[in-house]
Amino acid sequence: MSSADLAPRLAAYAARRMPAATGVEVRDLSRISGGASRQTYRFRLTWTEDGAPRERRMILRRDPPVSLIDTERRVEFEAYRAFFGSKVPVPEMIWLEEGTEALDLPFSVAAEITGYEAAPALLWTEAYLAAHETLARNKWSILGEIARADPFALGLDRVMPPPEPEGCWVRELDMWETVLDADEAEPLPIARAAIRWLRANPPPPAQRIGVVHGDFRTGNFLYDRQGDIHGVLDWEMAHLGDPLEDLGWSLNPVWNFKRDLAGGLVPDGVAIGYWEAASGLRADPAAVHWWTLFNCVKGQAIWISSARAWIDGGNREPIMVLPAWGMQNPQDRAILKVMGHL
């Protein structure tokens, strides 16, 4: 569906959700590049209410027929909603539509957070270099706040099944190994060796069951030149589990952006220190190592499943090829590094 076709249908949907509004229009609807798991658009919604003209900038995220990450939209929506207004900055969720009548595919609408950057590459330009330390402190402190949150008090256990503390690791490893089994287009000896090691050397039980963002890394949050973070995005892989899982994902070497620093920003130990201070949890080195290696396997599963979606013809967008070609070998090298073989 083109943007020209989408805009009036979205406006009609918004009008139905806003009974007090008249003259509802969608303006300047344009697709945002990237977003392999959702089709993402920004737009201005304009309307009249109580005799006054109104306007709000919004983001539409629409499920593609086949995405890089198969997730449930409600889980993502509820995760955003749970953290809105907390120390974890997230955009306000406005509407969730799980039916297909309005726009042919399920979608959600959120308030747009404007004026900040998400692209990792900008961080190594002159204007941002001085902010690395502050950004790193904010990044891992926010991740610690996610780990500190009580998912049961937030009501997230209604949409995210909680595992037992001793079963977190096996549930996640089983799930991602199943993805590898189903989607690999060629044998993956390095990932398979890592899986055997992970099963033979399980981590200790989770200290507590927490919210796991699932994709917390540079590139999935909005930042400014001072190193402040204004929005944590991309919650589509959120689930309940061992909070160390998120820490391990953030330490996956593929997110170092070719620098030998966590997130390309600070040494791993510094990042872990920020996380421990904010979360109130201990990052046992052996457990962090297990979860970092696990996340390397998870990353590989994601990259090869994007290749599978393209090969099978379900999604022929070029964004599906980019991680398959550009990340698979770096992810293998990350596994080798974490396992001490590089």
Partner: protein
């Protein structure tokens, strides 16, 4: 590289042609073309060395499987073959069979407790490291 380069190039040809239409949203066109450019760059980088990489790796894997002797088991037949057809698709298919054999060999070796097994395991890790060296691209994302 998966998906295969020729299939991706064919798809990109169609995508570029569609983006030549005058009535497209400029933001959508920019996104599609910038991604296409990145993929074309990767394909260009991989193109010249693709056959060399596969021949070199297949040769190394066959030598490793041959030296594994008793450990190789049902994969022993893989060790004796050689690459006579140098088309990328045939070399890739042979590479996939050899790497599947390597996975089986490594799992068997890990279960053995002997100096010979450890020496073989060390050689396997060395080959796996070299396999990532062969696949390195300056245009990789990480």
């Amino acid at each position: 590289m998966k998906p295969d380069i020729p299939a991706v190039l064919a798809e990109l040809a169609g995508l570029v042609a569609r983006n030549a239409a005058p009535d497209l949203d400029p933001a959508e066109r920019a996104g599609a073309l910038s991604l296409s450019a990145a993929l074309l760059g990767m394909a260009a980088e991989a193109w010249d060395g693709a056959a060399q990489r596969l021949v070199e790796e297949n040769r190394a894997l066959r030598a490793l499987l041959a030296d594994a002797g008793d450990y190789t088991g049902p994969d022993a037949a893989l060790a004796g073959a050689e690459d006579s057809d140098l088309t990328i698709s045939v070399l890739s298919a042979a590479n996939a069979r050899l790497r599947a054999g390597l996975i089986a060999l490594q799992a068997d070796v890990e279960a053995e407790d002997s100096p010979e097994a450890r020496a073989l395991e060390s050689r396997i890790w060395q080959e796996l490291r070299l396999s990532t060296d062969r696949r390195r691209m300056s245009s990789a994302l990480a």
